[in-house]
Point group: D2
Chain length 337, copies 4
Amino acid sequence: MNDVRVGVLGVGRIGRMHAELIQRRADGASLVAVYDVFSESAQSVAAEFGARVAASPDELINATDVDAVAVCTPTDTHIDFLVAAAQAGKPAFIEKPLSLDLSEVDRGIAAAEATGIAVQIGFNRRFDPSHKSVRDTVANGEIGDVQMVRITSRDPAPPPLSYLDGSGGIFLDMTIHDFDMARYVTGSEVVEVYATGAVMVDPAIGEAGDLDTVVVVMTHENGAITTIDNSRQAVYGYDQRVEAFGSAGIVASDNPGVTTTTRRTAAGSAGSTIPYFFLDRYIPSYLAEWTDFVAMVRNGAPSPVTLHDGRAPLVIGLAAWRSFHEGRPVKTKEITP
Amino acid sequence: MNDVRVGVLGVGRIGRMHAELIQRRADGASLVAVYDVFSESAQSVAAEFGARVAASPDELINATDVDAVAVCTPTDTHIDFLVAAAQAGKPAFIEKPLSLDLSEVDRGIAAAEATGIAVQIGFNRRFDPSHKSVRDTVANGEIGDVQMVRITSRDPAPPPLSYLDGSGGIFLDMTIHDFDMARYVTGSEVVEVYATGAVMVDPAIGEAGDLDTVVVVMTHENGAITTIDNSRQAVYGYDQRVEAFGSAGIVASDNPGVTTTTRRTAAGSAGSTIPYFFLDRYIPSYLAEWTDFVAMVRNGAPSPVTLHDGRAPLVIGLAAWRSFHEGRPVKTKEITP
Amino acid sequence: MNDVRVGVLGVGRIGRMHAELIQRRADGASLVAVYDVFSESAQSVAAEFGARVAASPDELINATDVDAVAVCTPTDTHIDFLVAAAQAGKPAFIEKPLSLDLSEVDRGIAAAEATGIAVQIGFNRRFDPSHKSVRDTVANGEIGDVQMVRITSRDPAPPPLSYLDGSGGIFLDMTIHDFDMARYVTGSEVVEVYATGAVMVDPAIGEAGDLDTVVVVMTHENGAITTIDNSRQAVYGYDQRVEAFGSAGIVASDNPGVTTTTRRTAAGSAGSTIPYFFLDRYIPSYLAEWTDFVAMVRNGAPSPVTLHDGRAPLVIGLAAWRSFHEGRPVKTKEITP
Amino acid sequence: MNDVRVGVLGVGRIGRMHAELIQRRADGASLVAVYDVFSESAQSVAAEFGARVAASPDELINATDVDAVAVCTPTDTHIDFLVAAAQAGKPAFIEKPLSLDLSEVDRGIAAAEATGIAVQIGFNRRFDPSHKSVRDTVANGEIGDVQMVRITSRDPAPPPLSYLDGSGGIFLDMTIHDFDMARYVTGSEVVEVYATGAVMVDPAIGEAGDLDTVVVVMTHENGAITTIDNSRQAVYGYDQRVEAFGSAGIVASDNPGVTTTTRRTAAGSAGSTIPYFFLDRYIPSYLAEWTDFVAMVRNGAPSPVTLHDGRAPLVIGLAAWRSFHEGRPVKTKEITP
């Protein structure tokens, strides 16, 4: 069976990674073309992995040898490229967040629905085998009715300030992964959000109007309560844990160690750190994204992360910001009636 | 050196346990007298452990062969016995919560301060070696500045409804342990409380005006944010974990297993449950309470859990109830200006 | 139901521990009399736990208020006291090893069988909940046919040389526990033994003709192969692990930690030591011994550790010494045709 | 800097894996040519990864565009290709075992030394981060003097009988990895070997004159004692653990889980299996082999696994077979005086 030939728009850090996975690791997918506003980036990625450089986003999206498009460009361009892919009738993979502007998101959804293209949003953590196992354990009823979910998600170090600016702030840039995880694990929409937070890592983050340490409590339609905590700086590594508690038990994913080695002396026991770089932890999840994408494009399998799954966390994130600024719980329907 | 001769007021489940620990396990303490409104209880405990039955609380408190008093009676009698011990100049151990009535607590504190008796409140979890190690790791700066604390505290099954009535509700009966733990681990007072919760375990608990599943987010004077989650029913056992995250690392206490045995088959791995009964988990902490109590009475060591440590969690608990009822974060100084 | 009234012969470290457990912790047993060649020891234990000092072993064994005898004296006196208990028709608990002399053991067995007294040997590790769970998992077929067993048993520090002399050497003093464990876990007799070892901890142990570091490989009647390793000095604590591998899976007991607390910093993770003192690890197993002893004496329950269970490990130990000295595998039937 | 251009001889399962790693994953290496006696295999691998098919082994070894040779052919051809590579002056990577015939090995070593080519033997487990951490901890003295090593190495299922025939039997085919690990971890040669074993998995293995379950005890020059146990069938997965015990502590590598997820219910806790397929466990180690190979070829770094490291385990394996057949410990110098 022929490979799904993918064109990648935007080959910065994340786009370059997708290009490599598509060409070298993912079964059933191959890289045919790349585009980046920085042509040097496009040329080096094209050369390294054996693909051509597209003349423009439109050329790439409409090229006859491009079966599907991966949108890894800056957030504020996602919807335009989604609309273009929809008009070209090309299936699209779009990195998170879909957009910071709810009306833009709705424009994109309308365009996609108009031509019925298949779309997958890049919430890669759903594909992490351990987090997925938490969700599957909940979904198959092994812990009964889910009552409380705890999500810890901490970066090893803050990104450059330049990156933060335009990111929508921690709730839309970082916590948005956890908003998606909460919906994924509980299988239930979020109805209320309470958010608190502070600047504990770097005052410059505060001066930029953002937070670096936050706690969010959310109530789901099914009554479950999710608690999320984030920090921009966990010096011990990339701390990613999900726990679901239910009427019949509990299930939790933990961090892997860099090694499985333990030392014991009279002073106590010692082990390795946990992975520091997000790719060390999540490469298998990014790879699994492409397996599902190929199945969606080739076999018409349902999208594992739909446009609605891309929209809902944005609504929650906007509610989180309002909750923080107004110092009260906020209903999601205050954001999108 | 002579044993500290202890008289125990109230020998229900918890009082009987203290009587046994004092007489059979604790170094430097011995049981001389017990009292209970149910004289059969007093007689059976006295007979089993070799002590006399006091004629009345006053007789016990003032007896010349009683060096110190342990108050394990119903909550609403704690302050009266504290005052009586103060007037008798006898050191007192008082079970938690000190009282459900702040003005009562203040009356007790005033009486104790008037005669300067040594008092220790029964927050036993401070003495659990694993939780204590979390606190010590924070206190000695190993994780830098503490930024976020996570406390999970879940009972294996709800107590009888009869017990709940008069308990002050989940925040004053159950979460109060975690309010104390948050102050203990961070070493900082709580300034704001947000509480949410629901009835997920037993509708009868809700009909009694109480909750069985709660999440509390608190801000400390030093800026740290503590998240607490409680459930009245964790079918897998007595789930008790404390985690402190700081600028230089993280420290966490986990649940012990009933055994250390692991089985692996083609189907996966399997291990034991965690302790189900609270005494299986916390007997060492109750025993350690008495070691410190003996040191306090004999050598004038400072109280490991002061009257102020008994008062502060009550304030937090009252703030939690107000937060829940009003659906907003509540400052502790709204409760006690 | 009346307590089983126990008299304890020999109240050195282990005898004193049994006296305390019998009097203060074990349900259904109480301490009535103690005897020790060092009368000060007998008097202090009698005073501390409330029992009388017997005038002589015979007086204790034959006293009408003594229902059962616990023999915690030096090894070379075990059989004489077993015979005396048999003649008095008193059930007996006997510390390991039964004796270092096989003919003596057989004399004791003959005497016990002649009067049919109930006897339990003090192989306490069978009662450790984690090791017992390994054995039960094997016994109930969860891992299929047991094929290989691995036993690690290491002391935190060597005993005084004075103790070693007369101990029968490491195979009869220390490894004998593991010989019992191998029979217990596999449920099968040992037919061949290969032993190697060295002096790595203290040359003085070698000068005394003993070893401090040994490895033993044994073949069982059912074909299973057991590997044992011992060291007299594991500086990180009292290392006690049992693993059984079978056709359908594996089961293993691990060491508990002193706490469940883990710290993580940029340098890695760190945890507590494992218990250092054998009582910290095995008190629950010693206590469980008495529960079974009471059931055996009161209700005629079968002995959990029979005289045969006391004899077999001695045979294996003698085979181990011969294997080491002759540098070849030795069949147990070479020791006891 | 130019890539090291590698030609791969033999592209069966393991050769095909090396070809993929060299071309797609390893930095500084690229695949230029492949050869296999089954030309279809050569063609499919060449086509998939973009390399040419060599006309013959000699053509590949001597091709000007081949900088180095990877020998992944059947064992009995390794030495001929090593000699050919030596004559061509090409650095060589050779899969384990080097050969089953000691005189052949010595012929290969002589040829390699004559022209001084760099050679690396494919003992990949040395490159596993967890096992390597065990060795490094020993090497840097963190556990003091190493006294005992325990190696468990069990396959999930036996290979086809056709494969076993010609493999040299379990000691030369499977245990040989552990013989290498024992030398690697202790940094000391093996002087004596005792081996026992049985047929517990499949009678057909026994009829072929081989064993499927073995235990080996070895004494090293430095006095350390290593115990190895192998099984051809661990139904729970690919069980690979190394533990080193020393005068100052212990260090051990454990199996990773397939996920980090744990479930708890009233029935107990459950987790994932361990990796079943050896590539799931050891791909990182195979990749690290190529990193070191590139450093050796490009920069003249010392070989991480020398020809002597390839020879020594063969000697130990031959001693193990003799020990098993003669039922006694065998000195390695009996094999190679």
